[in-house]
Symmetry: C2
Subunit: 424 residues, 2 copies
């Protein structure tokens, strides 16, 4: 399977016209950035860079791809032949995956010919927009949980392939594990999961269901106690597993109220070490609210996998410079109305205090450091172990730790910074 047709048709139409008039071979720079953060967000977290490199490796047009493009008259024969030999030969730099970004931050730059850089637009944006949406939401939940572990369990609410990527993005942002087996296999994300209500309903009694689970896993397992009556479920679970039961899970009702009642009951039964795990439409706001309750583990589903109300990061991919007839690079930018941006090949820098700026002449202001790293070097993809997932996770942990208190607040607010041109 190639990834070449995960592309909007107009890119190939534009390539067709650009091959005809010679524009395709001019040197060009494209930039990916978000004009604004989703409503209420104080920072964004970049996700998807590792997955993008995997996808770029497969971005070529095979015979089946070309047959479709010819049959559907998407491109002329000249362009079909050009695509048959297509290999990206340019250079891509990016903010490290897991880093935070702001409105205007150039998170990724592609330098190559106009033709080869332009046709990567859809693939780059799809991956960065999805994974950054999930990572950005997940990072807020990680902050709200203040060290309590989070399990990602949203697979069933979202597209089956997006689910795998969402599990990875949540893990990058600091979740501890996922329910998604393919994310475990493909990216090495730790997997977790014990039982659903079906397990209880399938047996004549709740006791038989708990006994079956404990016969398999021993008492170091998590028992779902809310199928019929929570208090009775807890009593039965401790009777069957003994006070060394690892955890109970609550999946319905007012979790704050139920968790307090469950803690008291577990303690009275001598199961003082038994943890309480909760799930049921949790998001960063409910997690923050639940911090006062005796909850030990949060299972988060729909809200993390769908970006907690903002399922896309809203990044765009814009031509910012192109080679002129005289061989020099010309900065370009759309001018009309509501969607302005700034042209030019930008060098992104950050200062030790976290401030961010970019320069157009390649200079690095005193005390600042360039933050992009090269991920594709003249067509050579820089190899990443298992898509760089563990490295991105370490980057995210450091980035979250470095955020000022104002940026770490769960309450809706404004972007804490913006990325602007450097002025001393």
């Amino acid at each position: 399977m190639t990834t070449a047709l995960l592309t909007d048709m107009y890119e190939l139409t534009m390539l067709d016209a650009a091959l005809a008039d010679g524009t395709a071979s001019r040197r060009a720079v494209f930039e990916a950035f978000a004009r604004r953060l989703p409503p209420g967000r104080r920072f964004g977290m970049l996700g998807g860079i590792g997955r993008l490199l995997d996808a770029l490796r497969d971005f070529r047009f095979d015979d089946a791809d070309l047959a479709y493009l010819r049959d559907a008259s998407v491109v002329t024969e000249r362009t079909a032949q050009h695509l048959a030999d297509f290999r990206f030969t340019g250079t891509i730099t990016a903010l490290p995956e897991g880093e935070v970004y702001w409105p205007g931050t150039p998170v990724l730059q592609v330098e190559g010919t106009f033709g080869e850089a332009m046709i990567l637009e859809t693939l780059i944006l799809s991956i960065l927009n999805h994974d950054s949406a999930v990572a950005s939401a997940a990072a807020r939940m990680v902050i709200a949980a203040q060290g309590r572990p989070l399990i990602e369990m949203g697979s069933r609410r979202v597209h089956e392939d997006a689910a795998v990527s969402a599990a990875r993005a949540a893990y990058v942002a600091g979740f501890g594990s996922t329910s998604n087996l393919e994310a475990g296999r493909r990216y090495g994300v730790p997997v977790a999961g014990t039982a659903a209500h079906a397990s209880v309903l399938a047996r004549p009694t709740e006791r038989e269901a708990f006994a079956a689970q404990i016969a398999l896993s021993g008492p170091r397992t998590t028992i779902l106690v809310d199928t019929y009556d929570i208090a009775q479920g807890i009593r039965t679970a401790v009777e069957v597993a003994g006070p060394e039961l690892f955890a109970i899970r609550l999946d319905s009702g007012d979790l704050l109220v139920e968790a307090r009642k469950a803690r008291d009951q577990l303690d009275s039964l001598g199961a003082t070490g038994t943890k309480i795990a909760t799930s049921s439409d949790l998001d960063e706001y409910l997690i923050e609210e639940a911090q006062g309750a005796p909850i030990d583990v949060y299972g988060v589903g729909t809200r993390v996998a769908t970006g907690s109300g903002s399922p896309t990061a809203g990044m765009v991919y814009k031509l910012v410079a192109i080679e002129g007839a005289d061989g020099s690079m010309r900065p370009v930018a759309k001018k009309s109305s509501s969607k302005q941006s700034t042209g030019g090949d930008k060098t992104l820098v950050r200062f030790p205090d976290g401030r961010e700026a970019w320069t157009l002449d390649g200079s690095i202001p005193d005390g600042a450091a360039a933050v992009h790293e090269t991920i594709v070097d003249h067509g050579e993809i820089c190899a990443l172990e298992r898509s760089g997932t563990e490295r991105a996770r370490a980057t995210a942990a450091a980035a979250i730790a470095a955020l000022p208190a104002r940026a770490r607040r769960t309450a809706r607010g404004e972007a804490y910074r913006t990325s602007e041109e450097w002025s001393a």
Copy 2:
């Protein structure tokens, strides 16, 4: 590639315990349904059935899958051996794809052994929840557009594989085409697209960019006129293409205002037949508002591909009946607190006036007809041409046409019906 690991871990843990105590081989019925519609929605549209059949065909555990499950200690060796031979042998019935549904409608039922039916949960829900979310939003946009054509162009805002499925779901609901090439190849969805701002910015002048496009496509193309100044862009487009220019596209600004100005200008230039296409964060509300403006084609991106504010349909998959020790089927349902449902093997019926009900004894009330069709028959997948996309599209068109006026309103409202047990 198999689809077997697109699964939550707990399903295999539960299978493990159920194989050990014999529950896995009991006959069982599971049901997929939505407890409620997304906020403000008057109806839901079922998507994903055709894709589900494709995915079920590949739901088997190959050596690589099993190696991961063993290495990660997800299952015991007995269960790994069971999975090596796994083939679904049960029967699945469903509402036809493209049909409308209500809170409580059993949209899909799986009958088989407890083990084989249970482990399909994540795959079934992922596909139905995603595709139904997009189809439901798209159907509202189709209604709002009152026959004006819609192009789906949201690929870049969502996960790269979800984008392909979203394009299919929007087409099922009545969109006319998509920008996504893979959706064109895989499902036969018509593809569309001409040029982006990069095409204009890459040339020294807008005129040269338009000339390059028209040299390739002739005047029956759509020219993007808002890179610099819309009025100048339109003048140049008509000069270069002539008054037989097919269409202009506006991608920014107040589309209602700009469309009226553009219409006047085109008419004054003699381009009275030139159409106006718009894009830029359109959704069903903006489309409805724009019906008074001279807009001929709507390009819809983010909002359709992300379900217009509701990126998941919120369907669940619940055990509703299981074979008891005496061989009879026992209805089951979760009882506690906020997530109640009704047990039993339901027969879904509809009346000629659109009312819906279900019976638990298999009877069909006078004047009603059963609406589920068998899509997997004792393990045999009922073959569908190209995932049944055209058939689902015809079903959707008929279902939308049959909706009463109250259900067709764009304004936020309540679900127009609910699905309940039949009582004469």
